[in-house]
């Protein structure tokens, strides 16, 4: 039986929209609206979706970089959102984060050595005298030249900086690492290197990843399970194989149909969605996707679909659509 490391229950993150006289709160951006999922120990769970669907916000809410509006985040059975500041500070050792922008994620005035030792100092990982030795070890682990320990971030390339960011996250022996678009800013060859590094580290240190990304190719390479988000809601959650081979939700189908296939002979049906993503300030009633869904009917406009698992789907594969059966049986098909 797989062990649950993190369990998110009904997480909500609303950001107030200030406006009008005296800057009162006039509305909310519902960045993440009532999502639940769990991460098992040692796996890589990816969250995909287009810009503004709430995937980064989910990561930040779990880390309490922004306080969530509502919900529960259980880490090894303990609700992180119920912890006070100093309890949370201790817990932070177990949850680390790797950011997207390798240029903004390192303090430009600190050397690599300072960056790594400071992280260990805050969490009191090792005695002061051993910090530098451990920093050198960490640099070697992530594939950096230990002689560069006294250099400043601007002397490194983007890929190397990302490795420094990874070393910083590793320095406190975390159990869960949230990689927030960790390779999106890198070019493709460097992406592959960093992804392989992440995979190797996962094996060596028994890490669990929450991998936030928008690039389906990357997600396919690294994930065990995948969550697809749309406008602050989870539309589909499945293991990698099921999701790519047997997608159920119309949005997931559209997303997957956008992956180019490097074969000019093969004709593929491309599902092109109409219109733009609606504003998360006033998201559509019912199913959030109904404004762009080719299969939308009356029920989609009024009733919010639940995540469901049906007979033709593998265990653990769930999608939030009212018409899964009809689409699967062919009763509902795309009109040409």
């Amino acid at each position: 039986m797989k062990k649950e490391l993190l369990k998110v229950n009904n997480l909500k993150q609303y950001f107030p929209v200030k406006g009008g006289f005296l800057g009162r709160t006039v509305n909310h951006v519902k960045a993440v609206d009532d999502i639940s999922f769990e991460i098992y120990e040692g796996e890589t769970l990816s969250v995909v979706g287009e810009s503004g669907c709430g995937k980064s916000t989910t990561g930040r809410a779990i880390l309490r970089l922004e306080e969530p509006t509502d919900g529960e985040v259980y880490f090894e059975g303990e609700d992180l959102l119920a912890l006070n500041k100093s309890q949370m500070r201790e817990k932070r050792k177990d949850l680390q984060v790797i950011f997207q922008d390798p240029y903004a994620s390192l303090n430009p005035r600190h050397t690599v050595g300072q960056i790594l030792t400071e992280a260990m100092q805050i969490q009191k990982i090792a005695p002061r005298s051993e910090l530098r030795k451990r920093a050198i070890e960490l640099m070697e682990i992530v594939g950096l030249n230990a002689e560069q320990i006294d250099r400043y971030p601007h002397e490194f390339s983007g890929g190397q900086r990302q490795r420094i960011g990874i070393a910083r996250a590793l320095s406190v022996d975390p159990k869960l690492i949230i990689a927030d678009e960790a390779v999106s800013a890198l070019d493709v060859s460097i992406q592959a290197q960093v992804l392989n590094l992440l995979k190797r580290l996962q094996r060596e240190f028994n890490l669990t990843y929450l991998f936030i990304a928008h690039d389906l190719g990357v997600v396919r390479h690294i994930s065990d399970r995948i969550i697809v988000m749309y406008l602050g809601k989870i539309v589909e959650i499945a293991d990698k194989k099921s999701l790519f081979e047997n997608p159920q939700h119309p949005y997931t189908k559209a997303l997957l149909s956008a992956i180019p296939i490097p074969d000019p002979e093969k004709k593929k049906e491309r599902i092109v969605l109409k219109g733009d993503v609606p504003s998360p300030i006033n998201p559509p009633q019912g199913c959030r996707f109904h404004t762009r869904c080719p299969f939308a009917t009356e029920i989609c406009r009024t009733k919010v679909p639940e995540l469901r698992n049906l007979d033709h789907m593998k265990e653990g594969h769930r999608a939030a659509c009212h018409h899964i059966e009809k689409i699967h049986s062919g009763e509902m098909a795309l009109q040409k």
Binding site: R60, L63, L65, M88, R89, E90, R92, K93, L95, Q96, V97, F99, Q100, D101, A104, S105, L106, N107, P108, R109, T111, E118, A119, I122, Q123, E147, D150, Y152, H154, E155, G165, R168, V172
Partner: protein
């Protein structure tokens, strides 16, 4: 920037040499602006004069000598004498120190308070931010010199109170600049990374935000010294700052006011020196802004 990379000697460089390299780099960029460089040297010269000048003057700055009153410039009295026969050159040399001390101290005092308010305001945001910044708006709404006049009439005229009064109107300008810079740094990912590591707010503010917003603070500081010097002289000129017989430059100017047609040199030389100090800090500050601006590299 690139100079560090291309230098192979820095392979295992120590921090000191990198700092020295940065300093050299900074000097090189500053020296591109000739006016700023001259301003910098002028400031250095004025500081040396302020410290060591009084040791070399032969006359007493405050001792009247009515035999030579209102005398023009001569070999004995380079800048002439005033209506009490005091040597103006000696008084100006002594005055430079007093005026610059007031200017620098009030800038430091106002700067420190403004930096703290600005960082707190920018970092924490919310209601605290609103309260602090509206207070700063109120302070900014008063013309600086008027505020200083009001404060001094309450506290009484003394050097200490002049410094406090000038510092008070340095606070809002610093607070605004620091708040703006803090806002831009606060949302960078390395601040989030520190939060995710469990760093305290204190550590984040002093180790990660403050060092990265120093450039605009230094520039603002050097420019503000110029206006602080002007305000200090202005207050003395109005009789609210340094009291006679102190040779503060503004007071010297005020002394010369009654004799401006008969003995113009009494007001001319202190005025010239005030102008030099203000000019030096202004052009230096301008050059500093260009030299510290990463986009100009």
């Amino acid at each position: 920037m690139s100079s560090n990379l291309s230098n192979p000697n820095l392979e295992q460089s120590q921090k000191g040499s990198l700092f020295l390299n940065n300093l050299k780099d900074f000097y090189r960029r500053l020296s591109r602006n000739k006016a700023a460089l001259i301003g910098g040297y002028l400031i250095l010269f004025l500081i040396l004069v302020a410290i060591f000048g009084p040791l070399f003057t032969v006359h007493d700055p405050n001792e009247p000598d009515y035999a030579v009153k209102l005398a023009g410039p001569s070999a004995e009295h380079w800048f002439g004498t005033d209506h009490h026969g005091r040597d103006i050159f000696t008084r100006v040399i002594h005055g430079i120190g007093i005026t610059m001390t007031i200017g620098v101290l009030s800038t430091i005092l106002g700067g420190v308070v403004g930096i703290i308010l600005g960082i707190v305001s920018g970092y924490y945001g919310g209601k605290l931010d609103t309260v602090i910044m509206r207070l700063m708006d109120i302070l900014l709404a008063f013309p600086g010199i008027l505020l200083a006049l009001a404060l001094i009439s309450i506290l009484g005229a003394s050097r200490q109170n002049v410094i406090i009064a000038i510092a008070l109107f340095a606070v809002p300008t610093f607070a605004r600049i620091v708040r703006g810079s803090t806002l831009s740094v606060r949302n960078l990912e390395y601040i989030d990374a520190m939060k995710a590591l469990g760093a305290s707010d204190f550590r984040i503010i002093f180790l990660h935000i403050l060092p990265n917003i120093l450039s605009p603070i230094i520039v603002q500081g050097s420019i503000f010294i110029a206006s602080a010097v002007l305000s200090a002289s202005g207050l003395s000129f109005l009789g609210l700052g340094e009291q006679p017989p102190s040779p503060e430059l503004g007071a010297l100017l005020s002394d010369g006011r009654d004799f401006i047609w008969d003995a113009g040199h009494i007001a001319f030389f202190p005025g010239l020196v005030i102008m030099l100090i203000v000019l030096a800090f202004n052009v230096f500050g301008d050059g500093l802004r260009d030299a510290l601006d990463p986009k100009m590299r």
